[in-house]
Each structure stands twice: as structure tokens, then as C-alpha cells.
């Protein structure tokens, strides 16, 4: 708590014709040695009774700073030192110099009439002042407080908590958070981890249930959210100050697709002690076809392909369908679809008819077949041929749970597909109020990849725009992160009511997006230490710098060291492990015997069905789905022509 009494002013407002005090900005001077710095919050009070502005209190944040002496021109210093720089420091008297600060007004009390800042005394802001200055008093207290801690405002060793308004972070008034900063130094992921923890602990009960869906798109960043990390005493003190309990997330549900072998999970969380908590993410044709648009690049987007995909979805998928050449198909899997395509091509060729099939040109059919085939190849492991899907628990989302989808090693096409489908399903369920929670924070890193400022209008980008502009009504909240904000679509970042900045790149700061920041603020942003952020929030009229504690979870790199990923298991062992995970009573040797000499595709199919069904007796179900062993045909006894009588060696 900032306990220092505010009876001693640290500065005084000054105004000249060239640098006047206005309703939005003022200047003040301080002693040369002062704790004031860029980002410091100060309070101005009229100097005394009867002076202009008496009773008016103004809060401001320091945005720029100047130091100068009474030296008229640099030449005078040269003359005074007789051209010798060493002598300049020997002058018996130090020149008068000033520390002059520019501050932007955060709040005036009373708010009306809005007047220039009085030329009064300047004080360092206390806890209560910070709350007033940032208008946090409106949501910190009352019957239904909605404050969520984001960090500690620090000045001269003093710290005061800064809170965001849940109504403006998670909807419905405004929503979304965007965080920018250079990799490694901006601690974007750590900041989001801390904030999610704070959200889970402080999200008001009256606003309902909340969960988070995190897409892990690089390395092991989010793979150990359920594991406690090391904290320093300083971190613990900050947590205490922010009224946040430093604890790892619980529950955390991990999802990762398989690798191409279809049995080993494509994630870095494969340590034997953790892998059992990772659910496979597997989709079949139905899941993919709904989002086929994701698979089409800009050149592919034409009405004909769209129409054919719609035709497949509406008329073919999961129903009896006659191909027009005498064949009947029930398409449920990629394999079924491929058989249909073959039947169509063969039928057209054999019948010698035109290149049209049911009003669709064969070229369009070939294109769609090519794209769908492509996804099953490039995303092997995510997309299964046999249609046995394993998905997020739609409709059964838990309150204060984190759902991590590990896509770090998935093909970009697959990442797009997963992203599009998961977010669309979230939206669909939230619209129906049937997700299990009332709000979901979706954390997406590398936002510049999914919603670039330029480039083609992809399905994913359109979807992100849609969330940004309408998600707040549904409780679908985007927590986006990227290195360069200027490279993200401006409507996506523009709709983020809360904007957070870590250490920024100087080139990035030179872009027009940062014109509103003073040069000093930009310099501070370019040199921001790890763990410090600049926050913009609807209630804050100016950006505020805060410090946040290290998140209480294991960092990705540390997690990989403590829980090194296991090597890929041989096919048989991987199958055994998955079945054991479904039922601890499963005996590995029984499974090994069952799958010995069986086709891997058959085993995968049986495994997928078992996983989807989750039967009481796993082995029995698996055995049944796998089918009876077709024993190898015993070698037919060859009819042997009886040998002749032994040849007599006798030649005669």
C-alpha cells in the first residue's frame, strides 16, 4: 500500500503562454532528485484557500519530461569553460536546472465544468488516488463489484493495484484483450497466464461461469498450466497485494491431435506422468466438411466449389445416396467419400456421358476431391479416415477450467481448421447458451498470422473479425497476442477494449498506430523491463504502466526440462497405453495379442471407436470392433506325386 502521507507536495504546476495548463494536459516542476518518472500518477490540488481552482482535484499521468538549465546557448558553456570540457565540471557553482514534467489529465473532480488544471501543488498519488484517477472506484466496490486485477502500478518503490472492469474486459459493455510486444521480452504469454488466473479468481459470481480456451501454437508455452511454477518472495508479495492466490490452473484439459501414425500424440506434453491428461483431438469427415471453406485458398473460392461442398454436406453425408451409376453409398468417412468420387469418375468414363455429374462439372469435383484429400494427408493424425471423432466436450464446459489445444506441431492448414472449427463451435454453443459456461476467453498467440493486416480474406480472418465485433454479446472473448500490432487487422485490434503492451520494437513504435503516445512513453515502451506492461482500458483515459507477478505455473521451457517429452512409442505400445488410459484394468498383453498381425488401419479404427464409445468393458468392446481374427489360412497340403521307387543304383 502506498502509505506515504500526501501532505508534502513533490511539485508544482506551472503554466506559461507557450506551455499553458489545459483541461487535458499540464506541466509541473519537481526537485532535481525525485521519484517522479514517465508513467507516474500524480494528484494536483489548488495551492490554498481562495486561490483559483480551489476545491478542484486533478489526477494526471506523466507523459513527458524535460530537463534544462539557464544556459542561453551551448556556446556560453564553451566560453565559460574556455573550451575545455574538463573545466566545465570545475565551475564552483552548478547551474540552475529544472525537471519539468508534462502530464496528461486522467480525471478531474468535479468533472463539470471541465476547466484548465489549477496551478497548484502536485502530490504523488496514493492507493485511493490511483483508484480515483483511473475511475476504478466505480467498479471496485458496490453491490456487484467487477474488478479484475491486472497488475501493480509502481512509483518510487510504492505500489498500488490496478484493476480492469470485467464488464469491459469480458463483455457485455466491451470486450477482448490484445497484447503486443517483442518475443521473449514482452512476456505476453506470462501476462495472459497471470490475467487468466486473476479472471478465474475475481470474475464476479453474478456474471456466471467462465472458462478459457487456449491455442498453443508454438513450443511448450501452454503445456504445463496445471503445474506450479517457482515464485520469488517479491512475486508472492505482489500476489498478496493484488488479492490473487498464486496457484496453478485446475482443472486444465489438454487436447492434441495424433501424429501421422495415428497413435502417438503430437504434443510436447508426452512425459509419462502427464500424457494421460492429454485427450486426442480427432475429427472425421463430418467435422471437416462443415469448415471446408477453411481449406480453400483465395483462388479456390468460387461458387461452383462452394455449391458442390454444400451438396456433399446436405445430400450425401450420413445418408443413403445413389451415385447415378447404380451404386449406393453411405458416406461417413474420407474413405467412403473417396469411394464415391471413384464411382463418379468411373461411371462418367464408362458411360461416355458428358463431363457433368448432377450439374457439377467434373473439374469442380476433382478440385474438391483434391482439397479434401489434401487435408486428410497434411493433417493426418488430426483427421481420421474412419470418422471416429474425439472432440472438445461441447455443452459440458466446466466453470474456471482451461482447455488447451496444442497445435504447435500441426500443419498450418490444420491449425486454421482447428481454430476455425473450435471458435465456431464455441460461438454456436454460446449463442444457444449451451456450452456449460457463460463466457469463454479464447487465447490466440501469433494473431498477425490468423488476422493479418493485409493478405487474403481468409475464413479464419473473417471469423476473428466477427468475434471481435460481436463476440462481446455472446461472452466469446478474444485474448490475442502478437509481436507487431501494426501487422494485425485494425478492426481486430481496434475492437479490443483492453490493450496491453510489453517491450516494443522501435520500428513498430514508429508506425502510425502509436502516434498518440509521447516520445518519452515510446522510449519507455522500447525499454520496458520484463514483467512490466502498459495498459489501455476504457476507464483509463491514458495508458498506465503496471507490473505483474510471474505466473504461478510452470513455464514452457522449465516444463520441458522437468517433464521431458517421451519418445514416440511403437505402434503396439501406443495402442496399449491408450486403452489402459480408458480402463486401468486392461492387461497390456491381452491387447498385444489382440492386435498382433492386424492391419494398423483396422486397429486405429477400433481404437477410435472404443475411445468414442468409452464402454464399460474396454477390451471386450475393442475386440468386438476389431472383429474376429481371420486366422491365416493353413497351408493347403499339396498333392504330392508319390515318388517312384527308389532308384536302384544298379544301372541294369
Amino acid at each position: 500500500m502506498i502509505l506515504r502521507p500526501d501532505t508534502d507536495p513533490v511539485g508544482r504546476v506551472v503554466a506559461t503562454e507557450l506551455k499553458p495548463a489545459t483541461p487535458h494536459q499540464f506541466h509541473f516542476w519537481t526537485a532535481t532528485e525525485t521519484t517522479i518518472g514517465i508513467g507516474t500518477i500524480v494528484k494536483v490540488e489548488a495551492a490554498g484557500r481562495g486561490e483559483p481552482g480551489e476545491g478542484r482535484v486533478v489526477y494526471g499521468v506523466v507523459t513527458d519530461a524535460y530537463a534544462y538549465s539557464d544556459l542561453a546557448t551551448p556556446l556560453h558553456d564553451v566560453v565559460g569553460a574556455e573550451g575545455d570540457p574538463a573545466r566545465a565540471a570545475e565551475a564552483p557553482t552548478a547551474r540552475q536546472e529544472i525537471r519539468l514534467w508534462t502530464a496528461a489529465v486522467l480525471r478531474q473532480i468535479p468533472e463539470e465544468p471541465l476547466q484548465p488544471v489549477p496551478l497548484g501543488r502536485v502530490f504523488v498519488a496514493s492507493d485511493a488516488d490511483v483508484a480515483q484517477a483511473l475511475r476504478m472506484d466505480a467498479y471496485l466496490s458496490g453491490a456487484t463489484p467487477t474488478a479484475i486485477p491486472i497488475g501493480l502500478y509502481s512509483s518510487g518503490g510504492l505500489e498500488a493495484p490496478v484493476y480492469l472492469d470485467a464488464d469491459f474486459l469480458l463483455g457485455p459493455e466491451a470486450a477482448h484483450l490484445n497484447i503486443s510486444g517483442v518475443s521473449g521480452l514482452a512476456t505476453k504469454t506470462s501476462a495472459v497466464e497471470f490475467l487468466l488466473g486473476a479472471v478465474f479468481q475475481h470474475f464476479p459470481r453474478h456474471k456466471g461461469r467462465i472458462a478459457a480456451v487456449c491455442f498453443n501454437v508454438k513450443g511448450p508455452d501452454l503445456c504445463f498450466l496445471d503445474q506450479p511454477g517457482a515464485l520469488t518472495d517479491e512475486d508472492r508479495a505482489r500476489y498478496e497485494r493484488l488479492h490473487v492466490v498464486p496457484q496453478a490452473f485446475s482443472p486444465v484439459h489438454y487436447f492434441a491431435p495424433f501424429k501421422a501414425d495415428g497413435v502417438n500424440l503430437n504434443t510436447l506434453r508426452t512425459h509419462p506422468g502427464l500424457v494421460e491428461t492429454v485427450e486426442p483431438l480427432v475429427w472425421g469427415l463430418g467435422e471437416v466438411l462443415d469448415f471446408a471453406e477453411v481449406l480453400l485458398n483465395r483462388d479456390d473460392i468460387d461458387a461452383k466449389a462452394d455449391a458442390f461442398i454444400d451438396f456433399l454436406s446436405d445430400r450425401v453425408l450420413n445418408r443413403e445416396f445413389e451415385d447415378g451409376f447404380g451404386g449406393t453409398h453411405r458416406v461417413q468417412t474420407f474413405a467412403d467419400l473417396e469411394r464415391l468420387f471413384r464411382a463418379i469418375f468411373d461411371g462418367l468414363e464408362l458411360s461416355g456421358r458428358s463431363d457433368m455429374w448432377r450439374t457439377h462439372h467434373i473439374a469442380t469435383i476433382r478440385k474438391v476431391r483434391n482439397r479434401l484429400g489434401n487435408v486428410s494427408t497434411r493433417c493426418k493424425g488430426l483427421v481420421t479416415d474412419d470418422g471416429a471423432a474425439n472432440d472438445l466436450p461441447w455443452g459440458r464446459f466446466e466453470d474456471r477450467a482451461v482447455y488447451v489445444i496444442d497445435l504447435a506441431n500441426v500443419d498450418p492448414l490444420g491449425q486454421d481448421l482447428v481454430f476455425a472449427r473450435v471458435v465456431s463451435k464455441l460461438r454456436e454453443h454460446l449463442e444457444k447458451r449451451a456450452l456449460g459456461v457463460d463466457a469463454v476467453a479464447v487465447f490466440v498467440d501469433e494473431l498477425n498470422k490468423y488476422a493479418p493486416a493485409d493478405g487474403p480474406e481468409t475464413y479464419v480472418k473473417k471469423m476473428l473479425l466477427d468475434i471481435s465485433e460481436r463476440g462481446r454479446y455472446l461472452g466469446l472473448v478474444l485474448f490475442g497476442a502478437e509481436q507487431f500490432r501494426s501487422q494485425v487487422h485494425r478492426r481486430v485490434v481496434g475492437n479490443a477494449a483492453t490493450q496491453v503492451f510489453g517491450r516494443m520494437d522501435s520500428d513498430e513504435l514508429a508506425t502510425p498506430s502509436y502516434q498518440v503516445l509521447s516520445p518519452a512513453t515510446k522510449i519507455k515502451l522500447a525499454t520496458l523491463p520484463v514483467g512490466e506492461l502498459m495498459v489501455r482500458h476504457p476507464h483509463f483515459t491514458q495508458p498506465i504502466f503496471v507490473r505483474f507477478p510471474r505466473p504461478p505455473v510452470l513455464r514452457g521451457r522449465d516444463g520441458v526440462e522437468r517433464f521431458p517429452p517421451a519418445a514416440d512409442l511403437p505402434f503396439e505400445e501406443a495402442v496399449v497405453r491408450q486403452l489402459v488410459r480408458l480402463d486401468r484394468r486392461v492387461k497390456p498383453n491381452v491387447v498385444r495379442d489382440l492386435i498382433a498381425d492386424r492391419e494398423e488401419d483396422d486397429v486405429r479404427r477400433a481404437l477410435g471407436a472404443t475411445r468414442r464409445e468409452r464402454p464399460a468393458d474396454v477390451v471386450a468392446f475393442f475386440r468386438r470392433v476389431l472383429g474376429a481374427r481371420v486366422g491365416p489360412e493353413s497351408p493347403r497340403e499339396r498333392a504330392v506325386v508319390p515318388p517312384l521307387n527308389p532308384l536302384s543304383e544298379e544301372p541294369y
Binding site: G80, E82, A88
Partner: protein, 325 residues
């Protein structure tokens, strides 16, 4: 200023005539001669390289502002502000105020005022200097007399500050005064008080000695002399050239130093001069007198000016034409 408002309400006419302010002390204006106390004839002596101060030093300066703020008939009503301060240089090489005094006064001829205005002034406890009727016969005469009163008031508060201060100074401590030392007994007799005179209306020499005094080379001083016929306390004095005058003016960079009238002063005249030479830096620009104005004195003056009432300060960039000139 409430008392002035009352006077205007009683019939006085508001005015805003700011005479040329006397920002520093004026030197004597007559040729008085001098008695040489060092050597047989006035010589130019090199003082050696500039050196640091011999000990902790404090600096005394005063300011005065005055303006005609009203007329009752043709009788001027003058408002004046005088202030003085001693600022001591600390180990951080910065000056800190150790003593300060101000006085705000009104000056007029009460007898020449109308009864209404006189009564209006009487209702307030105005620090009023009442000039004799003879001085009020012409507005110009009254202003000249007012100027003298303002000078005296400023000199008085400087004395009021200086006397207790030098009495309490440490053994190594020095006080540098802007202007004459000989105005104040305590200063003139103190071994570590130094007066620095920037204006040279008074001439103490003629002929070759005058040439020697006014054409000193940079870093040189004259022999020590005793100003003759001085109106106040006896002191020793010498000229010191801070900056080369060639290409400028005879008085450019020329100081006259006053110190205690004692043998020790002669012995350490060169050392004191070397110290003052060292005080050239930093330059006291943008003040036009920077060639003779020591920076600490300049800073005391700036300090006093910053605290002076704004309505008495001449506005360098005033947009309206000055009245009453």
C-alpha cells in the same frame, strides 16, 4: 493591492508607470581619488590561474521595483517592492537560501492628497513613506525623491540581512556582496566579506593610473588602494579584469573589488582575485551584464525576481504600449 484599490475608489486615478528599475546598487558618481596601499604606484598585477573558493561562500544581493500606480490630482502614489537574500553555496555546488527579507511600501506625499484618498489610505496599515510637501510640488520631483527612498529601503534590508549573517559566519566562510561593502559597518570590517562592484560611475584615478586601471589585461588586477573621501566605512579596493576588454569596452569584464581595510587584504588580494576569476564560470547569461555579473549573484537576483510581485515587473514582451513614458 487592497490599499491602492481603496485609494482609487476614493478618487485617485489608476496609473501604470514603471520607471527604469534600479536592479543593483549604483556606484559613486564623483571623482574622489584614492590612496595607494600596495606599492609605490598603481600597477597591473597578474593574479595567476583561476582557483576555487577559499571556503564555503554565500552571496548577498537585493532587488527593487517600483511603479506609479495612481495619481491623486498630480501627486503620484508609488508602490515599491524591495527584497534581498543571502544564498549559501553547499557541497552540491548549488545555492540554498539562508536569509531573505522583503518589504512592500507605498510612497507619496500625504499632505498633497485629497482628504478622501488620504482617509482611504489611513484605513489600511500601509507601510507608507510620507514625503515632505516640498517634494510634491512637481510630479517629477516626487518621483526622484521616491527613487531615493526605494534605494534606501533596499539598502536597509540588505544591511538587516548582512549584519546578523556575518556575525554568525563560520571561520572559513565568506560572504560576497553585490555592490558596495562600505555601506554597512559589519561588512566593511569583516575579514571575509567581499564587495563586487560592477558599475564604474566613480573614478578614483586620473592620468596614467586611470589608463592602468581601465586597460587591465584579462586575469590582472590593480594594486590595492583605499578609495578616498568615501562616504561610508573605510575599505580597501582594487580593479580586476575578468574578460579581455579589447574589441568591447573599457568597462567590459571589469570589476572593482572591496574588502576590509586591513593589511591581510593586501596580502591576499591576488588570491581573492583568482577566486573571483574562477567564479566567471558558469556564465551568467542571458543577463546582458554577464561579463561582470558573477553567476551566484545572478542566481540570487533570479531567485528574488521569481518571488517579486508580477505586476511590478517590467514585461519584456508586453503587447500593449507602456503608458506614462
Amino acid at each position: 493591492m487592497r490599499w491602492m484599490d481603496a485609494a482609487i475608489a476614493a478618487g485617485a486615478v489608476p496609473a501604470a508607470f514603471v520607471p527604469e528599475a534600479s536592479l543593483g546598487r549604483t556606484d559613486l558618481t564623483t571623482v574622489t581619488g584614492a590612496d595607494l596601499v600596495e606599492g609605490e604606484r598603481l600597477r597591473a598585477l597578474p593574479v595567476g590561474a583561476a582557483v576555487g573558493p577559499p571556503g564555503p561562500a554565500a552571496f548577498l544581493d537585493g532587488i527593487q521595483y517600483w511603479a506609479v500606480t495612481g495619481y491623486d490630482g498630480v501627486t503620484p502614489i508609488v508602490r515599491a517592492y524591495v527584497a534581498a537574500a543571502i544564498r549559501r553555496r553547499g557541497p552540491d555546488r548549488r545555492l540554498h537560501t539562508v536569509a531573505e527579507a522583503i518589504r512592500e511600501i507605498g510612497i507619496t506625499c500625504r499632505a498633497a492628497l485629497s482628504p478622501a484618498v488620504r482617509n482611504a489610505l489611513a484605513r489600511f496599515e500601509v507601510d507608507l513613506i510620507d514625503l515632505p510637501v516640498a517634494e510634491a510640488s512637481q510630479p517629477g520631483r516626487l518621483l526622484a525623491a521616491a527613487h531615493v527612498q526605494v534605494d534606501r529601503a533596499r539598502e536597509q534590508i540588505e544591511r538587516d540581512l548582512a549584519e546578523p549573517y556575518v556575525a554568525s559566519m563560520g571561520k572559513e566562510e565568506w560572504l560576497v556582496v553585490d555592490g558596495l561593502l562600505s555601506d554597512t559597518v559589519a561588512l566593511a570590517r569583516h575579514p571575509r566579506a567581499v564587495g563586487v562592484v560592477k558599475s564604474h560611475g566613480a573614478q578614483y584615478f586620473e592620468g596614467e593610473d586611470l589608463v592602468t586601471a581601465l586597460t587591465l589585461a584579462q586575469g590582472h588586477r590593480t594594486s590595492v588602494f583605499r578609495p578616498r573621501g568615501h562616504r561610508h566605512q573605510p575599505v580597501f579596493s582594487w580593479y580586476l579584469r575578468l574578460w579581455p576588454w579589447q574589441g568591447n569596452d573599457l568597462h567590459y569584464g571589469l570589476l572593482r573589488v572591496e574588502a576590509q581595510a586591513a593589511e591581510d587584504t593586501v596580502a591576499r588580494a591576488s588570491a581573492l582575485s583568482a577566486w573571483l576569476l574562477g567564479e566567471r564560470a558558469p556564465l551568467s547569461t542571458p543577463d546582458a551584464r554577464w561579463d561582470r555579473l558573477l553567476y551566484p549573484i545572478y542566481e540570487v537576483e533570479a531567485y528574488l525576481k521569481s518571488r517579486a510581485p508580477g505586476d511590478l515587473l517590467p514585461l519584456p514582451g508586453a503587447r500593449l504600449p507602456r503608458t506614462g513614458t
